[in-house]
Subunit: 284 residues, 2 copies
């Protein structure tokens, strides 16, 4: 997906928030914001929003020397998500269809997204996910594909979210399939890294691999050889969140997109009358 | 109030929306957005957000030749507000304290604000205003001042909002005071101009004057002589909306601010635990 005019305020807000996480020096913050303003007219039409985000986030890192501005934020998100883990586990176990429940709760976890808002309301999102479920749901197609699936790839998104992905992977494990969980190569926004995925204990249930990307969303042309081999061999791919969707939508390989819709552009792109706030499980 | 880093995405969104109201030519839109990006590093610390808004909105006007980009939008807002006029009039008449009711409904009208969002939900805001009333309310102080008031100035904000201001002015008229209603000198965003205030029929109940400003918020150093004379002579001043507040907060003259809080910066500035979405009537 190419960047749209509407993406700029969002990327500006992100870099302002990230700057404030790292420094209270207004002159440093101003320098970073002015660099972003300078970048705007140079954005190429073929660039995606995650690519532009990475350029300015990397500038922040180079100016401040802080390689992981969201470090404390991610830690707090993981802590908060872990506090909700027993409740969400129970919800899934009590579901009529535990796998569907685990998919809904994994989409619910996608609400913990600093790319969109620093405010996190897990309890509210759990309630909403229970009441509303998926607004668009390709679960039946997923079940069909699962019967002949031996290898499944999940492309991860945010750090707090990964806590609930663990429950999905645990549930998928019951189907006796090999699973890989692909995380970012380097810290970017609040996306989950290898170290954090290991801390959460995702490696108890599947293999964690690096996507090779430092963009907040997979970009295949930047991906590692290991990732590309997994991507091409997988029988089913689940892509989590908007950032990955921006990099993958329109690719030949069918992909299940599992996310909470968080901006109008993505809602328009997915169609089907979807709105901001909806939970989605869509094969494309 | 000086502009903050956080104001930039909002001004960008406004100029993008205004550009789309005037043209569908992406190259023209890009030109305007790039000009705004170019302006960002040149913003002076002492400038206010309404001043920066005016500079880029004037650039849009010069590039496209359209002096009133929000013209149709304002017309639609006024139409929608007029449809709610009988209902709101009835609500005020049925209030235990009609003047307080009229003040609440005038703050409710402040929700029709393109500076914040193009979405307008008058019915929802009427309901909210009835249920919540003012979250901060200096009505008692207002009543006290009203007993010795012979001249009252209202500094107007948005076009649709002016329909409900008419009901407030009608109610204030019962106290036998002179009232002036100050509007923008030239069209800016969806703010009310002389012509629109006349169409709404505000001049049935009071005198309409021009502020002399083309900024979406009064700036005293740019105001007309007529406005400044009214401003200095008025026994009571009611300032509507965030834009006027940004220009006036901290001035010597006590002013009643009547608005819906629409951004976190303004909420922080007003204090008292106010939040985005609250209706406020505050003497400062």
């Amino acid at each position: 997906m190419q960047i749209e005019f509407d993406c700029i305020p969002c990327i500006y807000r992100q870099i302002l928030e990230a700057s404030r996480m790292v420094t209270s020096d207004k002159e440093v913050i101003k320098k970073i914001l002015h660099e972003f303003a300078r970048m705007i007219p140079e954005i190429k039409p073929e660039e995606s929003a995650p690519e532009v985000t990475t350029r300015i986030q990397n500038y922040l890192k180079s100016v401040t020397g802080e390689i992981d501005p969201y470090s404390s934020f991610k830690e707090a998100n993981i802590k908060m998500a872990l506090e909700h883990y027993p409740l969400v586990e129970e919800i899934i176990e009590d579901s009529e269809e535990p796998l569907l429940g685990a998919l809904v709760m994994s989409a619910m976890g996608n609400s913990i997204d600093a790319g969109v808002s620093l405010e996190v309301d897990i309890t509210g999102n759990v309630e909403r996910a229970i009441n509303d479920g998926f607004k668009y749901n390709d679960y039946q197609l997923f079940q069909e594909k699962l019967t002949s699936c031996s290898y499944l790839l999940i492309i991860a998104d945010n750090a707090g979210e990964a806590v609930f992905d663990k429950l999905l992977i645990k549930e998928l494990g019951k189907y006796g399939i090999n699973i890989s969980y692909a995380v970012r190569e380097k810290p970017v926004l609040n996306d989950v890294t290898l170290e954090e995925a290991q801390k959460i204990g995702i490696d108890e249930y599947c293999k964690i691999i690096s996507s090779g990307c430092d963009t907040p969303g997979i970009i295949l042309s930047r991906a590692s050889r290991e990732f590309m081999s997994t991507y091409s061999e997988a029988d089913i791919i689940i892509s989590k969140g908007q950032g990955n969707l921006e990099g993958l939508l329109g690719k030949k390989k069918p992909i299940f997109y599992l996310l909470k819709v968080k901006c109008q552009l993505i809602a328009n792109k997915l169609g089907s009358g979807l709105k901001v706030g909806d939970f989605v499980f869509m094969l494309r």
